[in-house]
Symmetry: C2
Subunit: 311 residues, 2 copies
């Protein structure tokens, strides 16, 4: 693992400042130990935070071992635990979703209390490839195929504190090598336990199968996501301009758009404007499917003088 | 197969006029027989054109059966043959590439002679999905993932006559059903014979495997390509604007760009402008890889007052 390259990514892509604290989510698995250890070596001010999901018998031991490790690095450590299984039952969520909700709520609350500039998590390059493939199999658009960003604002967790992923360019194998070289002792398979069945199948069956077509397919997919993320930014800027050109008027549960402007736009912008209109009407983010957008476009091609979109 | 939907696609997406002839490439396989038959039923003016690749012992019979079919429809028929195997050896091309080159040269020459508005070929929705997956496995960007367009200008074949693919939204199975209903008798496996080994593996192994993850994965991938094609148009427009903002000066084998303008652009546009610069310098289209573009971007981040890109 190239530490200098990681510094660059942390400073430029994640936009971390060495002067302000960053809160690192540490499960105790290889990714998060590597992240914590390397950020400390790069002189970032870190706070280690562990959330005990109480899903495994050894979970209290895991929490303890993370605490010992943080203390050996001489950095602040915070921990909490939550009843994931109970929350999942009560809120009718999958275990994976409930675990993520409780964990992120804790991490962002702690980040706020510690005046942290960001929450950092240990997603790696393999996680990115798996995420992109999951989106692909479900039928994603540009945003889904762009995968996870180095730095993201997730309004559900915090209006101000971003989530950063400094290890997104580093492969799982490099991380395991790093842990070995540095004598770090990850708790076993902590991240694997969290994995949904479909993602595990993808990791252990689909990706090896794809590698029989192209041995470097993981690199190919990683670069694809990176390149598409750049395109996504360009498209979003263009959609913003197009949206304004349609002079949208929002009232109660309707959006009115100037058809004359809308009709002259290429289909890609029309799709973007329609999605934006639906987002404006919805309080929660909505993953509008292709067919719905297509119906909207076809409706707007019918030759009426005014048109109103209702979903 | 919905004939009215096909009419719409032919008129709108392929931009075919019912008043002008369209030259249809007919191998004799199910796709091209279906295309020829349905365009005739929709009252388009068609000319059938068959190219004999002389790769199979029965190829002269295939040519004859296409001629008989065209004559039964009462439409003009043209044919030619070429020594694909010999051309491949002489020009050091794969059989598949040599076959495509000779065939398209013939089709566009005939289209020109017949005053045709377009050359139409029988690529179907499964071909589209396979094309997108091939690009994906190799590591494509937005353009590759957008797949084949309904209408394309391919300057290597003709400056003025486009290639159209009216069946791009129709699945192979629907085409086979159509052939059966209409009593059409395709020559056996003509298109399959042309397929490279890798595409055949993809069709018979990878896609069925992906369907175990999502039974509707082919539809998902088809819609993805369609949606990304719209995004690609938006990005290309933005790149054109960005390119002009850099006030490019092209001299001999160099392109000079205004760094001040370039540096303020998001990475997606910078990549696009770099690609454009390389295209301007190359006489043939070049599939610039991700790493090369990345090197270019990193070079331009070095703090010099002027920069010159040389590949």
């Amino acid at each position: 693992m190239n530490l200098e390259k990681l510094r660059q990514i942390a400073l430029q892509d994640c936009q971390l400042s060495p002067a302000l604290p960053v809160l690192v989510g540490v499960s105790g698995g290889p990714d998060s130990l590597c992240l914590l250890d390397s950020l400390v070596r790069l002189d970032f001010k870190v706070v280690a935070a562990h959330f005990d999901h109480q899903l495994r018998e050894t979970s209290a031991q895991d929490a303890h071992s993370v605490q010992v490790f943080a203390s050996s690095l001489g950095i602040p450590f915070v921990a909490a635990s939550g009843d994931v299984a109970g929350t999942a039952r009560a809120a009718r969520l999958s275990i994976e979703t409930a675990a993520r909700q409780l964990r992120y709520r804790f991490l962002f609350a702690q980040a706020y209390q510690h005046g942290a500039q960001a929450v950092a998590v240990g997603h790696n390059a393999d996680d990115q490839v798996e995420t992109v493939l999951m989106h692909l199999l479900r039928g994603a658009g540009l945003a889904g195929l762009s995968g996870m960003p180095y730095r993201a604002h997730l309004p559900i967790w915090s209006q101000t504190i971003p989530l950063v992923r400094p290890l997104l360019h580093i492969w799982r194998e490099e991380i395991l090598d790093y842990c070995q070289e540095r004598g770090l002792r990850p708790v076993m398979d902590a991240s694997n336990q969290d994995l949904a069945f479909s993602r595990n199948r993808l990791r252990h069956e689909l990706i090896p199968f794809l590698e029989t077509y192209n041995p470097r397919v993981r690199t190919a997919l990683w670069r694809m996501s990176q390149s598409l993320a750049g395109d996504e930014t360009v498209v979003q800027q263009a959609v913003q301009t197009a949206w304004e050109a349609c002079q949208p008027e929002v009232q109660n549960s309707t959006v009115q758009l100037r058809l004359a402007a809308f009709r002259t736009m290429p289909a890609g912008l029309q799709r973007g404007v329609l999605r934006r209109a639906v987002e404006v009407l919805q309080s929660t983010p909505l993953d509008l499917d292709y067919a719905a957008v297509q119906r909207g476009l076809e409706f707007l091609q019918s030759p009426t003088q005014t048109a109103r979109l209702i979903w």
